[in-house]
Symmetry: C2
Subunit: 209 residues, 2 copies
C-alpha cells in the first residue's frame, strides 16, 4: 500500500489526495507540517532531499516527489491520464504551466496570506509581483477555457486536477475571479466530477494491517 | 515537417533544439527575439496565448508550447523517453523540479545577467533570492548525481536534456560550480553523448519542399 506524506492545507498535496480518492486507491496518509519544519528534519530529507511534500512511497524505501509526477504515476492507465500522443502532450503542457505560472504565484500568495500568520507583512515586496503574474496566468487559463470544457482532450484529467488545486484557492489570497467567468464555470465542473473530495476532506485511516 | 519557434540564446529553446538534433528529426526553425518583443505580437499570441518560446507547430495550425512537454512529444517511443512506469515518473519528477527550482533561478539570472544589458541593476533586489534558491537546487542535483550517472533510470534521457539547458549556463551568471563535482562530471557526460550540439549550434536550413 502506498504511503503519502502530505500536508492537509497544501494545494500540491491536495492534487494527489484528490486523484487517489477519485481512483479509489488505498493508501496510508502521514500528515506533515511544513510550518513546523517537518520537511527539513534529517529523517525527511533522507526520503526527499528537496524537503517538500507531497511525497509518495511507491515501494518500501522508494520515494517519488513532485505532485504532478505523482499524478502521472498513480493515474497511468486510467481515464484520468490521456494516452493519445498529442492530448498527453497537451496535458503535460498545462501541468508544466501550472508549476511555473500558477503555483509560484497563487500558491505563494496562498501560503503567505492564508497559512502564515503575519505573511502579508513578511512578503509585502513580493506580493505585487505574484498578483501581477498570477492574473496574467489566469488570463491564459481563461482563454483556453473559453470554448473548451477541460484543459486536455475535452475531458476531465490530471491536468485539471493540477490546475484546480491552487486556482480554487485564489479567492482566499486576494485574487478576484469575477472577471474570469470561464474559470469559474470550470471550477464548478471540476467540483461536480464523480468522487470529488474537498481539500479539507480527511480520509478514514487505512485499515489495520 | 515541424516548425519550431525558438530563440537561439534561450535555454528552454535549446532543450528542444538539442533533442531534435539527437533524434535527427527534420524541422523548420523560426528565430524569435524575446528581447525585441517578438513573442508579444498579436500574431504570436494567437499561436501561444502565454507569449513564450519554444513553440512547436506539430500539425498545420496546432501549436504545442512548454519546452518539457515538447520534449515528451518529440521523444516519445525513442530511447530518450523512459517507458518503464517508475523510471518515467522519475524523469517527470526531475523535469517538474527543473521548471520550479532551476529555470526560475538560474534561468532568470542568466536572462538578466547574460542577455539583458543593465540587467544586474534592474534586478538587483531579486538576484540574491535567485542565487540562494539556485544553489539550494544545485545541491539537490548534486546529491542525486552522487552515485547516479544520469537523472532517471541510469541512462541519458530527456530529463538530463531538460536539466542540462540552464545548468550548463550557470557559470555565465555568477554561479560557482566548483563545489559541485558530481554536476560538473555529469555536464561532461551529457556533452559527450552522440550527436550532441552546443547551444550556439545553428542547424542547416530545412530542405526546400
Amino acid at each position: 500500500m502506498y504511503t503519502l506524506y502530505s500536508m492537509q492545507r497544501s494545494g500540491n498535496c491536495y492534487k494527489v489526495r484528490l486523484a487517489l480518492a477519485q481512483l479509489a486507491i488505498p493508501h496510508r496518509l502521514v500528515e506533515v507540517d511544513i510550518l513546523k519544519g517537518d520537511t527539513h528534519t534529517p529523517d525527511f530529507l533522507a526520503k526527499n532531499p528537496n524537503g517538500q511534500v507531497p511525497l509518495l512511497e511507491v515501494a518500501p524505501g522508494r520515494y517519488l516527489p513532485e505532485s504532478n509526477a505523482i499524478l502521472w504515476y498513480i493515474a497511468g492507465g486510467t481515464p484520468l491520464a490521456p494516452e493519445d500522443r498529442i492530448v498527453r502532450a497537451e496535458a503535460l503542457q498545462w501541468m508544466f504551466f501550472e508549476q511555473h505560472a500558477i503555483e509560484p504565484n497563487i500558491g505563494a500568495a496562498y501560503f503567505w496570506l492564508a497559512l502564515v500568520k503575519g505573511g502579508r507583512e513578511l512578503q509585502q515586496h513580493a506580493l505585487e509581483d505574484w498578483m501581477e503574474d498570477g492574473y496574467r496566468s489566469l488570463g491564459v487559463m481563461e482563454k483556453q477555457l473559453t470554448g473548451h470544457r477541460f484543459f486536455a482532450g475535452e475531458r476531465y484529467s490530471i491536468a485539471d486536477i493540477a490546475l484546480y488545486a491552487y486556482t480554487h484557492l485564489a479567492h482566499e489570497c486576494d485574487f478576484d475571479l469575477s472577471r474570469f467567468p470561464a474559470i469559474r464555470d470550470w471550477l464548478e465542473r471540476v467540483a461536480a466530477e464523480p468522487s470529488h473530495v474537498r481539500m479539507d476532506f480527511t480520509p478514514l485511516p487505512a485499515a489495520a494491517e
